[in-house]
Symmetry: D2
Subunit: 269 residues, 4 copies
Amino acid sequence: MKVLFCGDIVGRSGRDIVIREVPALRVRLGLDFVVVNGENAAAGFGITGRICEDLHAAGVDVITGGNHSWDQKDIQAYIAQDKRLLRPVNYPPGTPGFGSGMYETAARKRVVVINVMTRLFMDPLDDPFQALEAQLKLHRLGATADFILIDVHGEATSEKQVIGYACDGRASLVVGTHTHVPTADARILPGGTAYQTDAGMCGDYDSIIGMKKEIAMPRMIRKLPGERLAPAEGAATLCGIFVETDDRTGLAVTVKPLRLGANLEVSDL
Amino acid sequence: MKVLFCGDIVGRSGRDIVIREVPALRVRLGLDFVVVNGENAAAGFGITGRICEDLHAAGVDVITGGNHSWDQKDIQAYIAQDKRLLRPVNYPPGTPGFGSGMYETAARKRVVVINVMTRLFMDPLDDPFQALEAQLKLHRLGATADFILIDVHGEATSEKQVIGYACDGRASLVVGTHTHVPTADARILPGGTAYQTDAGMCGDYDSIIGMKKEIAMPRMIRKLPGERLAPAEGAATLCGIFVETDDRTGLAVTVKPLRLGANLEVSDL
Amino acid sequence: MKVLFCGDIVGRSGRDIVIREVPALRVRLGLDFVVVNGENAAAGFGITGRICEDLHAAGVDVITGGNHSWDQKDIQAYIAQDKRLLRPVNYPPGTPGFGSGMYETAARKRVVVINVMTRLFMDPLDDPFQALEAQLKLHRLGATADFILIDVHGEATSEKQVIGYACDGRASLVVGTHTHVPTADARILPGGTAYQTDAGMCGDYDSIIGMKKEIAMPRMIRKLPGERLAPAEGAATLCGIFVETDDRTGLAVTVKPLRLGANLEVSDL
Amino acid sequence: MKVLFCGDIVGRSGRDIVIREVPALRVRLGLDFVVVNGENAAAGFGITGRICEDLHAAGVDVITGGNHSWDQKDIQAYIAQDKRLLRPVNYPPGTPGFGSGMYETAARKRVVVINVMTRLFMDPLDDPFQALEAQLKLHRLGATADFILIDVHGEATSEKQVIGYACDGRASLVVGTHTHVPTADARILPGGTAYQTDAGMCGDYDSIIGMKKEIAMPRMIRKLPGERLAPAEGAATLCGIFVETDDRTGLAVTVKPLRLGANLEVSDL
Ligand SMILES: [Fe+2]
Ligand SMILES: [Fe+2]
Ligand SMILES: [Fe+2]
Ligand SMILES: [Fe+2]
Ligand SMILES: [Fe+2]
Ligand SMILES: [Fe+2]
Ligand SMILES: [Fe+2]
Ligand SMILES: [Fe+2]
């Protein structure tokens, strides 16, 4: 199977490049499934049902989230009834929506997507390690699932690496999100799981993590509130990771970073 | 000028690859100056005078530090008297050692190295922005300095990017350290400063940020103290960034990530 | 001299009790000077010029702040021109307003008020220790000032205690704010400085740190955004600390906590 | 029933006052049960089996812990086999020891003690709210238990207050520990649960949260490692809270802070 994951979409600029590129990428790369993290898609803060529809129309199968999942008020009703929009699985019981789902590709392959959030330097959620163990007991790669993708939304590289190795051999791809900067460590772990510490954002990199420099910089330097943060509006870079698996095992045989667009060094396939 | 910066050296494995590769890289790439971050060189915790000597013998001109600078007790005396070992400039007045230095290359070029630490999710130090403004008033690129290198030791990508843009046009290179994972965002900012959010570590990547998985993983998962963390001992990757500047301005004309060794995708020049 | 300090005023309930009680307390206790922390006076978030005027009319001489000082937009212009409203002294240079001031009582005594913010678990500001050393070089108790009051706005008890002892003998009173809970450790330190780790809030204690339980509790338990936090509206407790000094030295001879109103055990003088 | 809870014992000085005072307090106050937090009893870091025995011999029925529970290596074996030493209940499954226990008094009353840790500014543990709900489903005050005591080990006043109100009416006493400073907010919440945000430490208050000033102060001010922290050795204050309940309901009818010893204002019963 061939799967593409793209990191945090930030604002209109990020949405535009995903909506423009994904249809062509599906064809050119022969993709079976596409997952994107959409926690900053709506002007940098959360996502709306309307944006979800636009992304699905462009060929995005599933959208994951993170600490910004709840920024748009109406999303709680939407996420409760559409399993193609996930939020981290380790929110406490009773949280609207789902933290994982199983989906079927056109070729009837079963893809499991799990969204989890780390805790170092993040909000205190339920234990991501226990949550993943429960998920990986439910979904067994090569048995009940053909592809298992885990979006690890978090800050600390150490915690993301622990999750990568903890799931090694039991997932097809463990990929980080949240820092909005792609890491150059895409590789296949010893047990066969593709891994990258952060996928990077889909957005304008001539910015502070996707936000306009002229607003974000004085806020951080002067420690005073100012204008509300807003996404930078220049040309975006799509940042993602491509994985091809062995159909018999669901484990990765190829992993490649994908970077298309302005500012960053292009990495095409 | 041609300058190489390498990220956090972790343990013996990291030291070995730096000591083995730097002499050849100096020749092959025609390097004028080499800087490495050494805060984890001594078994993962700090650095010793002996290790500094070994690194200098291999062609490392200047060694920078970070939150781990002080882990080895005897280093306070050493750092006070050898300006080739720096610690972050924004420690409070009275801290042993120096946060910046001016050095002369064999070709009599003046290189300024500044080591600074960020504050989000880090120890509370003096303001890095004020500290850098003071340094960049003292050292003017193209006037009093031929190359200005700033090692931004820190966690949050946003804060590192703010520093990058705040220094854009006034430094040759702003490069991050501390996360032990190389980022794939090497580029030249609009004002001419080369930038990469994190250089990545020089160490064994089959590990948790350079430390043995079998010790680091249970500590994070179980929340109990265990065996003391120790560096992984497998083959290392050297991670760094190469910059070539325009001699008239000191600004970057070329920036390239460098990754040599095991586990990560090789990026040679 | 006799001085009263009251902790964080939270919302209307907190303003009401301060405005109602301070005039009588000034007479009954023979107070020379009254300082209150007002960072949560305006519906829990910041303070307005109008509220400052009301407090001054009730006999409050100086108002201090903290991390919430800037929550109300118009306050930046107000604080820049009225030295009776302070903000922490260790904001970076260029911040509107003042972090300390010298004031004269009716009896022509010179009172210095310094507002400082700690850093553990707080925003990264300039070093509070250096800032206080500079202030205490400028203002010398018993020489250039008859009373020196330091409001230490912060979270960690350890950092507040370090500041207390670091200033011991050089200030009349070091008192903490920010946690909204009064501590039971009012005492005179060995060098003669009155100290209390936190003054407690002036507000409705049948609440979560002054905010309505029905809003604050689900937000913390469920980890989802909800209704905007709003101050509890029940009867308030005024929490403060009373200090009497030796006029020759400016050091404390008496320190007493003051708690008047609902919910908490009353501690009157 | 009459129960006494004492906050974090720090070092020898803290142990001495507890061992000296508790036998007399049991008699004088007619105590049915005594609980102390012992996480800093062994030279400030953790506790040993030997110290537990000494405390039990002095009349301490149960000892609770916190983030320092594991500082002494041998304690993992001890805590696994002696239910009179608790650690926070919200450590992940598989953690040695117990987070709660039911004990019988001499008069055959059933006392339940629960130890829980908060998460704001603390290590990321399992959800304390879910953990407490599970405990309070198991143990019902007035039905299966005559007294329920909850030691909430944590930093943020807001989170402790949320726990207090969340358990109101279902516990006899919710009392905080960890900040090492007693708060002056002992009271009975509307539902009948006695509450105090922090019990304060049992230790030498002429110190930085129980540790020698001459070591703790330079460490915080200079940001350099120095001598290992060690407990202050002067005369201690015992800090605790006394609760009397209605035998029919298990709810509090009286709550009084207790402070005996040097430095702090004495509050005896
Ligand atoms: Fe994001
Ligand atoms: Fe995020
Ligand atoms: Fe490092
Ligand atoms: Fe570091
Ligand atoms: Fe406040
Ligand atoms: Fe505050
Ligand atoms: Fe403690
Ligand atoms: Fe603690």
